[in-house]
Amino acid sequence: MISPTETLWLALRALRRNTLRSGLTALGIIIGVAAVICMVSIGEGAKSRIRTQIEATGTNVVLLFSGSSSSGGMRGGMGSQPTITWEDVRAIQAELPAVRAAAPLSRTSTQAISETSTWTTTVYGTTPEYFTIRNWAIERGSGLTASDQAGAAKNAVIGWTVADKLFGSGVDPVGQVIRIRNAPYNVVGVLAKKGQGGMGEDQDDAIFVPVSAFQARIQGGLSQFVRGPVYVSAVSTEAIEPARAQIASLLRERHRLGPDQEDDFSTVSMAEMTGTLTSATQTLTTLLASIAFVSLLVGGIGVMNIMLVSVTERTHEIGIRMAVGAQPGDILAQFLIEALTLAAIGGAIGVLLGIGVGQLLASRFGWSLAVRTDIVAIALLVSAGVGVLFGLYPARKASRLDPIEALRYE
């Protein structure tokens, strides 16, 4: 066998002699590899984005829901029956060592009206602690205060999107008045931009009012119970599980639940939600990547097809090479390396194209992109493997030609 570099040189020359065909053959591999890289990178980007967004929701956050109710054999789901009282929230915040803060979050979808426009948005009722839990800063003006909460003040803090839709870009919303369900609210502050949430929702499309005012004027209900989830932040990441345990035992005690009774509340940590969402994204990524790998396989079959054509077409050349002393192994290596080179060059271009297209899509649709080097390496290896696998049969066919027959072939 002649040296690998020599064989590579022969292969490159042969491929260059038929540039158009080599290019078209490589295209199958290019598209396959590019699809794999693009899909996986976008999937990875989505995953890391979900992770950062959920982390942006607030680190160490535990959500507390009113429990599942069961009455007359009917079981309601989480939150179907209000069971958590204001006193419960206060006790969680005050008594539990693993808890830093707790805040209820009631919500409803309704219209907000300014002097110039109307906008349908989500109105939340909460307490000042909510913004601490979510690390959400006030961009302009001031936040809700404890006295707003105590006096059910008609003050509101609005998100960026709401500010833009109701007042436009030229006007300072602080000091303006908005009407929600026929009651006027003073805008005291505008929140810093937060962007998309973990579910793809616009977190800045929100109005926050004191939960006392919310219950009194926007959405009534039994006044001693909290509607909606309670956001609880643990003092540290390590304190998340202790906090959940402490909340559970406190609420069981406060709700006088016997040992054989189920919890009438439930908690979920952000870490759990992150896990669920990222695993859903992972499934999608795997699905897309496997489709992309199929296209890589199709590209490989294209390589085999062209190599077979090439062997037939170059039968005479093979005959000449054999006549001057090429051994069957030399011919095998030449065609194998040719297929391998085709696949490897296609793979390399595919990687660049995949990253390029991924970046283009990412910037156009506002996705994020995370190129995983291991996937790049795997895609390159697979495309080279495809080259070897699908080049082997044509190469063997070439190496087994009878020199006399091959020389006679025109």
């Binding site: 002649i2 005479h316 002393g325 090429a326 051994q327 030399d330 020389l407």
Partner: protein
């Protein structure tokens, strides 16, 4: 010891149930340095003979000793090595690689002889100079005349410095003036000690050889030595080296 020694060489071709003997129990000895022409009508077995002499084909029975070594039972790999080192081929249709320069064509056997690139190029240029084509080393076959292409092919046959050159109708595709040039070139090589065996059906080409074999129906029916014609005897332009 003869360079070529055939002993009872038979080559059978089978198609379906019928068997056809292209060569029948041929005996032949060619000494080193001989200049041999094989003539005969088509179907006489001369091409089969060339294929066997060239180690492109193996006999169905009998022995073929090339340079003292019985090559009749060698494997494909071993035959390739013999073709590379011991034999230089010249074909009727030149058999150069298209879209490949003359120098690269001449280098081809050296690639398979594992000669390093720099030495390969030097030896290819030497060989091209020996056939009078040093100025055309970068030309591709399509840019060369038939006679020039055959000279490139001869350079390729020479480049591994084989003891034996086999030429199958080397002038078959050339006009008569060019044919004479090519034969003069081969005759010149013979003068430098290389054994040459060629096939032709043209009497004036066969006349260049010092020994002339005639084949018919797979056997050698005539084997005679002859005086080389004056044109071939004279050592001429570009051929001596």
């Amino acid at each position: 010891m003869p360079l070529i020694e055939l002993e009872q060489v038979t080559r059978l071709y089978r198609s379906g149930d019928t068997e056809f003997a292209a060569l029948r129990a041929v005996d032949l000895a060619v000494e080193a340095g001989e200049f041999v022409a094989i003539t005969g009508s088509s179907g006489s077995g001369k091409s089969t003979m060339m294929n066997i002499l060239g180690c492109l084909d193996t006999p169905s029975s009998g022995h073929y000793r090339l340079d003292g070594r019985d090559v009749a039972r060698l494997s494909r790999v071993e035959l390739a090595a013999v073709r590379n080192r011991t034999i230089g081929f010249v074909f009727q249709s030149f058999n150069l690689l298209p879209r490949t320069s003359a120098a690269e064509n001449v280098e081809l056997p050296l690639i398979y002889a594992r000669v390093p690139p720099a030495e390969r190029r030097r030896r290819a240029l030497d060989a091209l100079e020996r056939v009078g084509l040093a100025q055309r080393s970068s030309h591709q076959p399509s840019q060369l005349s038939g006679g020039q292409q055959q000279r490139v092919a001869i350079a390729r046959a020479l480049v591994t410095r084989p003891p034996l050159i086999l030429a199958d109708e080397p002038t078959g595709n050339l006009d008569s003036a060019t044919s004479l040039d090519i034969m003069t070139l081969l005759a010149g090589l013979r003068a430098s000690g290389i054994t040459i065996v060629f096939v032709t059906h043209e009497p004036d080409i066969a006349a260049f050889a010092a020994r002339r074999l005639t084949m018919r129906d797979g056997v050698i029916v005539d084997d005679r030595r002859q005086a080389a014609p004056p044109a071939a005897a004279a050592t001429t332009h570009g051929a001596s080296a």
